[in-house]
């Protein structure tokens, strides 16, 4: 159990920019890394009384060194506001869990008492190169010695293997239906959130798209583009504060969410997955987080999970325990994860619908739960039953390697 009160407050998401957004034009110059960092950072500062109230900054980013020819992102934080100059700033990297790690660094700093107010931010700007080269950069989240034998689209290849294993054991049609249903729900939720990359999606029949048969000649053998998260530019930010910090920024508790548990878990990058049909590391992270929060999954009102691929969404429902092993596809197909289901997942579309600016995703998940628990989710708002005042986020780096699961409590 966490011995100290820790809150998150003042979240902000930029638009998730990329294909799907009508304003996106790959041939025209677009905002760079610094603009995204500044937009998100300034929005949070504006809500918490300015940079003077911040003790420390953390920035999560995966691969700016290659996407943007930029490293040393900690030193970009003072570009948000001159008031952040000469304050501590740390950049963290854990592949697609970089945002989650940023949250963890903030949480631990508040726990340690070194900071009362931490500005945590995540960012990624990926549309600087074509997807075929982006695949090279993202592949660095795997073990480099596996790259040569891996697929041209490395991570879709890795999760295509999981989709195959799932289909082989539980049935192809069954698995495909589950994945298509996950896609459908993701897009339907994204249509409710104006910053989502698929906000403007008007496709008439999402199930038909989701049921598209994969073609290994053009892409991977067992997934289609509809099974994949988006290639996105975006940033998200949130303040992580102590009780003292809340007083300092002048925000009441009911405008905040409380962090009541977390599980930060690392698996050996050099090893292949123990079981393709299980997100083993995710399972451990969720168990730790729920144990620390001293709650059961039944007390969760919503989950933001890392659906980098539809199959990862299905396996997450099993890893958390909502569905038994092999029953996740059915659980999703039956509508249990939709806005009106037993447990709404990814209420603004998740990585497939909202978008996946890799280093920002972990922070985006926290912002989404903060919005839901403070009635700021607009059209995406779900009802939070009083007997279920908890939310869970799961941020995953690589193929189930770096995991950050956080449990939040509505105030």
């Amino acid at each position: 159990m966490i011995q100290k009160k820790i809150y998150m407050v003042a979240g902000y998401n930029t638009v998730s920019m990329g294909t799907g957004r009508s304003e996106f034009n790959p041939k025209k110059e677009r905002p760079g890394l610094e603009q995204y960092i500044q937009e998100a950072g300034r929005a949070t500062l504006a809500q918490i009384g300015g940079a003077k109230n911040v003790d420390e900054c953390v920035i999560g980013n995966f691969m700016a060194a290659r996407f943007n020819n930029q490293s040393h992102l900690a030193a970009m934080m003072p570009s948000i506001d001159a008031g952040l100059r000469y304050k501590p700033s740390t950049r963290v990297e854990g592949a697609c869990a970089s945002g989650g790690l940023a949250l963890m660094v903030g949480i631990k700093s508040v726990l340690a008492g070194t900071s009362e107010v931490v500005l945590a931010l995540g960012v990624e700007v990926q549309n600087t190169v074509k997807a075929i080269y982006g695949a090279d950069y993202l592949a660095l989240a795997g073990w480099y010695k596996n790259r040569k034998k891996g697929h041209a689209y490395f991570f879709p290849g890795e999760f295509s293997d999981r989709a195959k294993a799932y289909s082989d054991v539980y049935g192809k049609e069954y698995a495909r239906n589950g994945m298509a249903s996950w896609f459908k729900n993701a897009i339907e939720n994204a249509r409710l959130c104006s910053t989502a990359q698929e906000f403007e999606n008007t496709a008439a029949d999402l199930m038909i798209l989701g049921l598209t048969v994969p073609n290994g000649k053009n892409f991977v053998d067992h997934l289609t583009v509809y099974d994949c998260s988006k290639v996105s530019d975006g940033a998200s930010s949130i303040a992580i504060v102590s009780e003292e910090g809340l007083k300092r920024i002048g925000i009441s508790k009911d405008e905040a969410i409380e962090v009541v548990g977390f599980g930060q878990v690392e698996e050996n990058l050099l090893d292949d997955p123990i079981d393709l049909n299980e997100l083993t590391t995710t399972k451990k992270a969720v168990e730790k987080a729920l144990n620390m929060a001293q709650i059961t999954k039944e007390q969760l009102a919503t989950v933001e999970t890392h659906d980098c691929f539809t199959i990862a969404g299905i396996l997450a429902t099993e890893a958390i325990g909502f569905a038994a092993k092999g029953k996740g596809a059915e659980f999703v197909s039956n509508g249990n994860t939709s806005q009106n289901g037993i447990i709404p997942f990814n209420t603004t579309g998740g990585l497939i619908g909202w978008g996946h600016p890799t280093g920002a995703t972990g922070v985006h998940q926290a912002v989404t739960i903060w919005e839901q628990f403070t009635q700021k989710a607009g059209k995406a708002q779900i009802a939070i039953p009083s007997n279920k005042p908890y939310g869970l986020s799961i941020n995953m780096g690589g193929n189930d390697k770096t995991l950050v699961a956080i449990v939040y409590k509505k105030q």
């Binding site: 075929i132 695949a135 090279d136 592949a139 480099y144 790259r147 697929h151 000649k217 892409f219």
Partner: protein, 442 residues
């Protein structure tokens, strides 16, 4: 010598030209796929890219590389398998760059015809001039000790004439690419009677590997594509002439162009198409056809325009040169008035034209229908409404379409091709028409 061996030394003549550059790219693609296959690692492949200007050849290499890059990016999955044994190449970008290097190394630019004396296959894509073609082909035949096979891109000259004049002993085939060859799917294949059957097989295999649609045409001047297009343009000129009493030259050209584009749902009007191909090129082709066919295929108008140095065609940046029209960003801006010897602004002419033509029976266009999955149904409806319309434009369009059907049927009757379907395929694929001229709409 098998096909693989033949492709080990190829020459492309006129490689820096509009058609030649695409043909060079397709050859580089085809041959590079052989060359990077580990099975062929001990073989040497060469393509001589032959043209007159060193400067244009330098540009050509950049152009070819840019097309190969796009291809490589789309085919990275296959390329990774080809380079699987190269442990030094790990990322997609490294494999793509290695492929580009390997593919470009095959091309040897040359300004000397002598380079072709070593080749086993000769792709000819010089300008549509029979004397020039004959001279080049016979020079190579005389000096090349390998008894090479010839593939000519002529769009009109009978293959048997080239065979005879250049003394090629039956080792020539018509392999007529459409513009731009890199992306246009159509190839018209014109075999000699009693020609080299292995060469025919080589052409069909080559086209199939490149994903092309091959349509056989018989060896009659103009073949299917130009056989149709030339008669189409002559009819367009004739119709414009008939409007002389009521309309100025510029007005009648614009009227027929608008009619053939908007009312007939074509991507461009017949006069714009002449500008696109080049009035000079059209004249070359008309000359060839007129010479070899028992039919009067000529147009004094085109000759007169060429005398005034009005040629159409494109600049090297792809923009249109002045012809019947001048263009801004691909759109017609002014219309040439032969009688006045000057270009007239479009907006001064269009009102009179449009009021004469009347309105379309439905608000559809080539653009709106070209990607519409229900275009067949929508076209049926459009043309049935067009047939019922009393507007001048509708009447003229139906009349024009009937003539197009006559031309199409004529090609089959004259033995240019065996089936109506081949005519329609060429016009749909090669000219981007939404429907073939032999249809049920008229």
């Amino acid at each position: 010598m098998n096909t693989n061996e033949r492709f080990q030394n190829v020459s492309v003549l006129g490689a820096a030209g509009k058609m030649g550059s695409g043909i060079l790219y397709l050859n580089t693609l085809y041959i590079s796929k052989l060359a990077i296959n580990p099975e062929n690692c001990n073989k040497c492949y060469t393509i001589f890219a032959i043209d007159r200007s060193q400067e244009q050849l330098n540009q050509l290499l950049k152009f070819t590389k840019s097309l190969l890059l796009k291809w490589a990016e789309k085919n990275i999955i296959w390329l990774r398998t080809m380079y699987a044994e190269r442990t030094d190449l790990i990322e997609n970008s490294e494999i793509i760059q290695a492929y580009l290097q390997d593919a470009m190394a095959i091309i040897k630019p040359s300004t000397r015809i002598e380079s072709a004396f070593d080749s086993h296959l000769i792709f000819e894509a010089v300008i549509e001039d029979m004397e020039l073609k004959t001279q080049i082909l016979s020079t190579i035949k005389l000096n090349n000790p390998h008894n090479p096979w010839f593939l000519t891109n002529t769009s009109s000259i009978p293959i048997h004439i080239l065979n005879h004049e250049a003394n090629l002993e039956g080792n020539i085939i018509g392999c007529h690419f459409y513009n731009p060859p890199a992306v246009q799917k159509l190839i018209e294949v014109i075999e000699l009677k009693n020609g080299n059957s292995q060469l025919s097989k080589l052409v069909y295999d080559f086209g199939k590997d490149l994903g092309k649609m091959m349509v056989p045409a018989n060896d009659i001047a103009g073949f299917i594509g130009n056989g149709f297009f030339m008669r189409d343009l002559l009819f367009g000129i004739e119709k414009a002439n008939q409007l002389k009493e009521t309309f100025s030259f510029a007005e009648s050209i614009l009227l027929i162009d608008t009619l053939t584009r908007d009312f007939m749902l074509r991507p461009m009007g017949i006069f714009q198409l002449m500008d696109y191909v080049g009035i000079d090129v059209c004249q070359f082709i008309l000359n060839v056809m007129n010479k070899h066919l028992q039919e009067n295929i000529e147009s004094p108008l085109l000759l007169e325009l060429l005398n005034k140095n009005i040629k159409g065609g494109q600049l090297s940046d792809g923009s249109q040169k002045p012809g019947f029209f001048t263009y801004t960003k691909g759109k017609i801006e002014t219309v040439y008035d032969y009688d006045k010897g000057m270009y007239m602004p479009l907006n001064e002419l269009s009102e009179k034209i449009n009021s004469h033509l009347g309105t379309l029976p439905e608000n559809v266009s080539w653009k709106s229908l070209s990607r519409d999955p229900q275009k067949k149904e929508k076209m049926s409806q459009y043309f049935s409404l067009l047939a019922q319309s009393k507007d001048n434009g509708a009447y003229l369009a139906m009349e024009y379409m009937k003539q197009m059907k006559t031309i199409g049927k004529g090609l089959v009757k004259q033995g240019v091709t065996e089936t109506d379907e081949n005519v329609n395929t060429v016009m749909i694929t090669g000219f981007h028409h939404l429907y073939g001229p032999i249809n049920e709409y008229c």
